[in-house]
């Protein structure tokens, strides 16, 4: 009786090597998946802006009252101007750590810091 190796045909080896290649490519893709911390903004119920926290950026986010201006720099992500009456979002300071949230409630803008790298953060939630 022949062993499994003896009955392996060229086609079998082709399939085995192809699947092995796919598996290795998958592992490599997971290892090189973009890491880091993102700034994700929602306008109403829609995600309207995504950026890396470590890349300086500024953007106007559109809400029902007008434009809320979000800046990303070395301090974190923070709001510099907004058409809402109380300007609470301006006094919230920068969001830097995973889970930090900013909001301009009247303008229906919400900004969240999302961490995808497993970076250690000093807290899970912020009481303010």
């Amino acid at each position: 009786m022949k062993t499994p190796w003896q009955v392996m045909t060229g086609g079998d080896w082709l399939v085995v090597l192809t699947l092995l290649g796919i598996a290795l490519a998958g592992i490599a893709w997971l290892a090189t998946a973009p890491a880091g911390t993102r700034v994700v903004a929602t306008c109403g119920h829609q995600t309207c802006f995504v950026a890396e926290l470590d890349q300086a950026h500024s953007v106007d986010l559109d809400g029902p009252l007008g434009k809320t201006h979000l800046v990303i720099d070395e301090k974190g992500a923070y709001v510099t101007s907004s058409p809402c009456p109380r300007k609470v979002c301006l006094s919230m300071g920068p969001a830097r750590y995973s889970g930090d949230l900013l909001a301009c409630v009247p303008n229906r803008i919400m900004v969240r810091i999302e961490n995808r790298s497993g970076e250690d953060v000093p807290y899970d939630l912020l009481s303010r």
Binding site: T9, V15, P94, Y97, A103, M110, S127, R128
Partner: protein, 332 residues
């Protein structure tokens, strides 16, 4: 080229099995959802093995919070609070409203009126929430605080009696906490044993974070974006009230949203107060009362609530931890 079909099928089955194991390996999943409600960001975090169950729990918790907000907020025309404020003598209220008012009256009595649910007229007069608030005339402030206080409200079952027609009920210092507590009830009903509900910094931490105890950063009252300290908790509420949340400045003076019922003006004894206790409604009310009372009397009040601890940052920036605070503090 010849093909060994049994081998190919075997490999495919093996790969499928590995894939199935990968997705059903008991890995803890976390659902994190946020919504704008109650004038702030409300966030629900729930961890467990069944993502569908966690999503359903979060959906129902948000729905329950929206329902309660419509009952307890002065911003809704048909809420119990609006109805009570418009009424001449009070009236029948929902059991949930009665529960909030009963707890509020208890804290009001213990704090000798520092916590007050009858400041509706005063808050409307100051208009901190408006675009350009200004300091009202002293005579107008005196009129707005006339006849207020916990003695002006009495609860008999589901019937609330007001002592004067112009009294305006405001549950702003307690309702949000109660609503968070009820969201936690919903999560528990769905079998969630690890999670958090956070309404603009007033939060309850259910069970343990999947990787460690819940670590809660406490906002520094004078360093924007800075952390004063960190606490570690499980099955506890953490509530912070500060003069930096909502304020305006006039003639170099800061006027914030936490009013001293005795003067009708913003309380001056503290920069911020953090309370760790068993439920968010109590924490909400206590944080306001402590802020109004200031460090010395505030800590005396807190000592009357077993299982509660707090950290008061006085107006001069000095820290006043209560007995038991160090059990929670993890840094610095």
């Amino acid at each position: 080229m010849p093909w060994n079909r049994p081998l190919i099928i075997g490999i495919i089955v093996l790969l499928l099995a590995l894939g199935w194991l990968r997705t059903n390996s008991g890995e803890v999943k976390q659902v994190r959802r946020s919504q704008l409600m109650m004038g702030t960001i409300v966030e629900i975090v729930a961890s467990g093995q069944d993502a569908g169950q966690l999503e359903a729990a979060a959906d129902e918790a948000f729905a329950e919070m929206a329902r309660l907000d419509k009952l307890l907020s002065r911003h809704y025309q048909n809420s119990d609070v609006t109805r009570l404020s418009k009424s001449l003598k009070g009236g029948q209220i929902a059991p949930e409203t009665a529960a909030v008012i009963a707890l509020g009256l208890d804290v009001a009595r213990h704090s000798n009126g520092a916590f007050d649910m009858t400041l509706g007229r005063l808050k409307a007069l100051w208009g901190i929430d408006r675009e350009n608030p200004t300091v009202p005339e002293q005579a107008a402030i005196a009129e707005a605080i006339e006849g207020i206080g916990f003695q002006a409200l009495s609860l008999e079952g589901l019937n609330l009696v007001k002592q004067s027609p112009q009294l305006m009920v405001d549950l702003g210092g307690i309702a949000k906490g109660y609503i968070v507590d009820q969201a936690i009830v919903v999560l528990k009903k769905h079998g969630v044993t690890s999670g958090a509900v956070n309404a603009g910094g007033d939060m309850y931490l259910l069970g343990r974070h999947p990787e460690h105890p819940w670590r809660i950063g406490i906002q520094h009252p004078r360093k924007q974006g800075g952390i004063l300290t960190t606490v570690e908790v499980r099955d506890k509420a953490v509530v912070t009230s500060g003069d930096y949340e909502r304020f305006f400045e006039q003639d170099g003076q800061r006027y914030h949203h936490i009013f001293d019922p005795a003067t009708g003006s913003p309380a001056r004894g503290c920069q911020s107060v953090t309370v760790v206790t068993d439920n968010v409604a109590l924490g909400d009310a206590l944080a306001t009362a402590l802020f109004v009372l200031g460090p010395e009397k505030g800590l005396e009040l807190l000592a009357q609530y077993p299982g509660s601890a707090g950290l008061i940052v006085a107006a001069d920036g000095t820290l006043h931890p209560s007995q038991g605070w160090t059990d929670y503090q993890s840094s610095p």
